[in-house]
Symmetry: C2
Subunit: 396 residues, 2 copies
């Protein structure tokens, strides 16, 4: 290793600034930020650095040999990342939305131009989940990856369940702490978890699934009745992302609130933490746990991607490239579900495989039933519009 990375950094939001401060406070040999591209160059950011508002200033700087892309906008992110790859500049990105939509194209570009793209920071903040799936769980033992992938919604749920905070207060606090995306629906409606799950699916099972095909549902519609129901059952509501290879080689994926009982690892994942349970043959279950939101944990993950590049580390996409029988995505699977509705909702929206419980009262009604992912997916918009709350409710 005698390489020296001169970084062109795109974006100076929470994570970009976090990375800048990290490298200032803990100097890392052979890693330097040379130029920073921001939208508004006139803003005083209180630091001395070489700012520009023109991407070309970075791409045409012959000294810059490494790109770090940490901007919010998915389309612009894709432009930058694909341009970097095309110009044979190795690049690190944290944009999960962009990755979830563009991974096949980006894998193709990496191959075509022999350039490296790393994005461990995109998936679980500081937990090296991609790297571990890629490098360590690279054999056929892996069965499922399940976890809490969104720190912000988990923070809110923790405040509600542990500190009896109201939904509204918890939301405001999460916002004050800087945990929420500029568009909170990304966090609260499960989109952020979904994007991460799509990325995880590629490295866990070698299968890319278009996010549009995957059912996700969030916690926006959750109300006090749902919280009370969960407490009565001695469970907590968590927003869970889940990908699993079934015995018949079908792959199921979804993001959905779940009523979690005490004996589960993720029951104890609190606040803005993420927790991932990796399950496989022979080793059974492993659990990884760490900070999943915030400038400092995420920027430390970006730094790990950068230092890995010093050693020419790259994702091999082992399963995608080498597995002889990749699993096939399917949403034709049903599971036990709590469905809460307030008013006169026509539940004919859903095709129930079986109804286990049904409760009605003025303003609070629920059904515990078996429903397929496919049926949920096609009814999602309608359910959401009617403020119906859904949560997986395994019998345990």
């Amino acid at each position: 290793m005698s390489k020296e990375l001169k970084i062109g950094l795109f974006g100076f939001g929470t994570v970009g600034r976090g990375l800048f401060e990290l490298l200032r406070d803990v100097p890392t040999a052979n890693v330097n930020i040379k130029k920073i591209c921001v939208r508004d160059i006139t803003r005083d950011r209180g630091i001395t650095a070489d700012f520009t508002d023109s991407p070309d200033d970075i791409f045409n700087d012959p000294e810059i040999n490494f790109i770090v892309e940490l901007i919010d906008d998915a389309d612009a992110s894709f432009d930058i990342v694909s341009q970097a790859l095309t110009k044979k500049l190795p690049v690190v990105t944290g944009n999960k939305k962009m990755l979830a939509h563009k991974l096949p194209k980006l894998i193709e570009l990496q191959k075509k131009y022999g350039t490296t793209l790393l994005y461990d920071a995109s998936a679980c903040g500081s937990i090296p989940v991609i790297r571990n799936l890629e490098e360590y769980y690279d054999n056929d033992l892996l069965i499922s990856v399940k976890g809490i992938l969104n720190g912000s919604s988990n923070f809110i749920l923790s405040k509600i369940f542990n500190e009896n905070m109201s939904h509204g207060d918890a939301l405001r606090l999460a916002s004050d702490e800087g945990f929420l995306e500029s568009n909170p629906s990304l966090d609260l409606d499960g989109w952020d978890s979904l994007f991460k799950l799509v990325i995880i699916g590629v490295h866990a099972f070698g299968v890319y699934v278009d996010p549009d095909k995957v059912f996700n549902y969030g916690i926006t519609n959750m109300n006090d009745d749902d919280i009370r129901f969960s407490r009565e059952k001695d469970r907590r509501i968590k927003l869970v992302a889940h990908v699993e290879k079934l015995a018949d080689n079908r792959l199921v994926m979804c993001v959905i609130p779940q009523l979690i009982s005490k004996n589960k690892y993720i029951y104890s994942v609190e606040d803005e933490f993420n927790g991932v349970v990796i399950k496989g043959l022979f080793y059974d279950k492993q659990f990884m746990f760490g900070r999943g939101a915030g400038a400092r944990p995420t920027s430390s993950a970006v730094l790990s991607d950068i230092t890995a590049s010093l050693y020419d580390y790259k994702y091999e996409y082992k399963k995608l490239n080498h597995s002889s029988s990749l699993p096939q995505f399917s949403d034709d699977i049903s599971f036990r579900l709590y469905v809460r509705y307030n008013g006169p909702v026509d539940l004919g929206l859903l095709h129930f495989d079986e109804i286990y419980e049904s409760y009605s009262s003025k303003g609070y009604n629920y059904i515990v039933s078996r429903v397929s992912l496919k049926s949920l997916h096609s009814a999602r918009e309608a359910l959401n519009a009617r403020k119906v709350f859904l949560a997986a409710y395994p019998a345990d």
Copy 2:
């Protein structure tokens, strides 16, 4: 990847057989066991395989291009591993005792012959702790690695604390479950944890510390009074291995029982599980958790080392090779300690920096004090001979 591994396997004990069964039950592309070297070739093992009792049968087989060494004896293990490296045969080993004593020599051999040695299975059963330290926590942010590294002693402690089992019954159960080494002192007196900690130290901080220099103390002397004391304080006793880089760049290491309070991650690591807390600047704390003992988890870790070799993965020993200011090992550090003694023990053995509490009664006496690791280390044999029990007792 078009390589095919034809493995010469040394040892067919718990883990060797586990690996054989794993590859039989979950066939892995391009990985085959060709020959197995065992001590007693006449024993019926109930399987069909090419057994031999001569290492040369493996080393002279021109088809064998990979060695997996899973025997108990540390000296014989070193012979096999160093012979493999010298013959440019990549090798995977699980022998932590051997590694803890011979790592510097083995690193030298890898370099000299350009051959690869992998041993993630040696450190925490199924948790990829070496790989993560090597690959992901490879920057200067890392502060400490602390955890429960021995599944067997943790199993015993769990049975005592959670199921009120007697020390003796718990020991017998651990033995029946196949969790104990053939020499139980390795597990119970902290040697196994120590060996793993030495290996972790190399990959976490780039520093090899001779195990003889590191203080370790186990749970053999723990009695009912200690268990009661711990319960009264609402804590659990765990056997904790700990390596930490202090702000002044000194490195401290030890293995010692600790009175753990409820708010710590490792409080909840139960049974034969291992749990490792990785602490660093910026990302704060991360926690990895998984099965740390038993045939199947360990053999799955061996398989991960084997499949990594298909992709020419090797440890770079990044910190060891590239850090400009490696921390220096020191045992000149003191901490808060519970010291329980029964009879008339001359505690002049220890140099107390400060005594916080002192309790005497017929047959049960303890002191809570501040003592240096150095002082403990020099008194270890004498304390052990007098059945004194020690546990770190942080004020929290």
